[in-house]
Amino acid sequence: MNAKQSNWINRKFASRGMQSVVSATFGFVLLFIIFSIMSPSFRSMNNIQNLFRQIAPTLIIGIGQGYVLITGNIDLSIGSVVGMSCMTAGTLMNRGMNPVLACLITIILALVVGVLNGTLVAKVNLPSFIATLGTMTLARGLAQLVNNNHNTDFIGNTAQGFRDLLYYGNFLGIYSAVWLAIILWIFFNFLLSKTRTGRHIYAVGSNLDAARLSGVNSFRTILLTYIISAFCACLTGLTLLASAGMGTMDAGGTYEMYAVAACVIGGISTLGGSGILPGVIAGAGIWGILQNGLQFVGAPVALRNIIIGTIVILAVVLDIVTRTNSKKTRRLLKKQ
C-alpha cells in the first residue's frame, strides 16, 4: 500500500467520479483535434471563441441539473424555465423596464418555480420525474402567457446595453457569457465540494434515510438543489435572450436533456450520490463541440442528432462498465 494521502486522493476521486471526468476531458481534446484536422475554419480563433460561447449555456444549466442529479432526483422543468425567463425578461425590457430590474424580476419568478419543484419533491414526496414534468408544462405555459402567445419584438431598441454586456461583451478575448459560466461554476463547485451543504447533497443522494437519521435536513437540501437548478436555468434563459435579441416562447426547448447529457457524460450518476462538477465542464464541452464541429464538417442536422444521442448512451455504458470492473478488481486485490 502507498502512503495514506495519495490513497485518499485516489479513493475520493474514484468514488465521486473523477475517472469519468478524466475520460470525458480526454474525449473533448480528441474531438477538438479531429475537428481541427478536418476543418480549417473550425480551428479559427473566431470559431473557438464562438464555440466557448455556445458551450456556456449548456454548462450553466448543467451545473443546476448536476446538483439535482446528485441528490438522486431530476429536474425536467429547466428547459421551460429557460423559455419562461427568456420571455419574461424580453417582454419587460420591451415595455421599457430597466434591464437590471427586469432580470431581477425574472430571477425571482424562476426561483418560485424552483421552490415549487423542491416542495413537490421533498415535502409532498412526488417522484421528481413526475413533479418536474408537471412544472415543465406549467412553466412553458407561463412563457406563452407573458406576451399573449407571441414572441417578443427585438429588444435592441430598449435594452441594447443588456445585449452588449451579455452577448457582445468580452474581456481578455473571452465572451461575457463564458465569464458568467466560469464565475457560476467556481462558486457552485466550491459550495458542492467544500461546504457542509455540499456534503449533505451527496448524503441525501447516497442514502436519504441515513442522511435524515443523521440529522440532515433533507427537505432543505433538496429544495436548495431545485432552487439552484431554476436559478441556473434562468441565467441560461437570459443568456439566450441576449444572444437572440428577442424572447422566443420555445427557447430552451430540449435544454433539460442537454443538461442531463452534459452531467452524465461528465460522470454524474443519475442514481445519485456521485459525480463532481468538473465533469459538467467536460460534459458540456463534448456536447458543444459535437454540435459545433459536426456542423463545420458538413454533417446534416439529423445525422448530428443521431451521433450525439449515440455518444450519450455510449458514455453511460462505458461509465457503468468501467465502474463495476474497477470495483471488482479492487475488491479482489484487497482480498489477496
Binding site: 468514488s15 456534503r199 448524503a203 437519521l213 443523521s214 479492487r330
Partner: protein
Amino acid sequence: MDEYIVRMENINKSFAGVMALQDAKFSLKSGEVMALLGENGAGKSTLMKILSGVYSRDSGSMSVFGEETGDLDTKKAQELGIAIIHQELNMCRHLTVAENIFLGREQNKGIVLNNKEMIQKTSDVLAALKVDLDPNTVVGELSVSKQQIVEIAKALSIHAKILIMDEPTSALSSKEIDDLFRIIGQLKAEGCGIVYISHRLEELGHIADRVTVLRDGQFVMEGDFKDFTMDQLIAKMVGRDITDKFPRVSCKKGKKIFEVKNLNAGHLVRNINLEISEGEIVGIAGLMGAGRTETTRAIFGIEPKESGEIILNGRTIQINKPFDAIKAGIVLVPEDRKKDGLCTKLSVSENLALPNLDWISGFTGKVNKKKEKELTDKSILNLNIKMPGAEVNAENLSGGNQQKVVIGKWLARDSKVVIFDEPTRGIDVGSKVEIYNLINTLKQNGVGVLIVSSELPEVMGISDRIIVMCDGRITGEIMQEDATEDKILAYATEFETKI
C-alpha cells in the same frame, strides 16, 4: 440524583391505527447494559426509535437524565447524548468513513469543511476501537461487518451517554463480536448506559446486566439478567414454553441426490466439492467472507462459474442462470430477504406466485387467479404466515413472516434441493423454531437441504453434517454427533492461524 438516566412510562404509539406500543415502560441506569428482548413486532425497535427521536410518541412520559423531554427529533436526541445503531445499516455508501461518521454534524473551519480535523478525529475513534480502517475508504467498498463497525464508531464519536444497539452483531463474525463486547465493557466503565437488542440470547449472557421483555407492544417484565434462565426468558418473550430450540427429526438417509464437483467461481469459491443425500441437512459454517454465500450463488447460477460440475440425481446439469436451477429443482432462499428474496412492493400472494407463474398461468400467459389463490391459501396455512391478509404488501410483514413467504415461494414447487442462506437472520426465537420445523418437513419429504449459517448453535443444532469453509475453500467436514464449536472454529480459521 436519580440513578436512572432514562425513564419511559406509559408510552403509546400506533401506526395507521395499529397499536405498536401500549403502555410500554422502560428504564436505564448509567453504566449498565440493558438487554431489550421480544419477538419480531414486539415493539422493541419502535420504543428505541422513540427514545432516539426517529418517531414521536402518541402519549406517555419520557425523561432523560432526570429531565422530562418534549418531543425529540434525531438532532435533539443526539445533543442529549443518545445514539442509536439501527438494525438496517444506515450508511451513505458513496461517502467515506470519515464523511459518514461526521454526517449531519460536520466540523467547519469558517464556511469550509474541516476535512483534516474530521479525518483525525475519525482515526482517533477507530484507534480507540482498535479497528484497522482507513477513514478515507469509501463505505460502499467495505464489507457488511466493517460497515457495522463504522456505525458503532459513528455512535461513539458523538460521545453518547446512552447508546442503543439494535441487533449489532447480526453481521459480525465471532472475532468481531468479541471486539464489540470489549468496546461495550469499555463504555460501561465510562458510565455509558447501553441498550442492547438482540435475538441471540447466547451472547447476552456475556454482557447484559438487566433485561426488559416486551410482547405485542406491552411491557412484560424487567429484572436482573442473571436471575433468569434462557428458557424462562424465551417463555416470557413468546408467552409460551418452547421446549426445544432446535427441533430435530430423524429419518432414513436416502440415496445421493446432489453433488458439486470442483466448483470454482471467483476468489471465494475454490474447488468446492460437496454432496447431499435425500433427507439430509448439510450445514455450511464459516466466518464472514469465507465464501459460503458466494458458493450458494454460484451453484444457483447467479454468479458465473469458472469450472465445475453439478450433478443432480446422477445426471450432470448445466446451470447458467437461476432459471436453469429452478427448472432442475434446485432453489435458493437468499441471505438478504428484503433485497433478494422478496418484491417488497408486491403483495404476499403475488410474491408467492412469482416463481410459480409457469404452472399457475395457462398457455396464453393469463394468470389463473383460482390456482394463485389455492397456492396462496395453501402456503399461508402450511407455513402459518401471520398477516392481515394475502393482499398486503410483503414489506408490511414482520421479518419472520417475510422469511416464511420467501420459503413458501419455493415450497409450492416440488424442489429436490433447497439451499438456505442464513434462514433465520434477524428473526425471533418463536419464528426460528417454526422455520426449523419447515426445514425438517423438507428433510422428511426426502429433499436435500443445504444451510448456510453464521450462528454455530444453529448449524450444529439443525444439520446432520457440517461443512466448514475458510477463505473460499472447504477446510473440514464434521458429522453432527462429533461437532463442537471449537472444532468448527478451528477449521474456520485454518488459514488465519497458519499465517
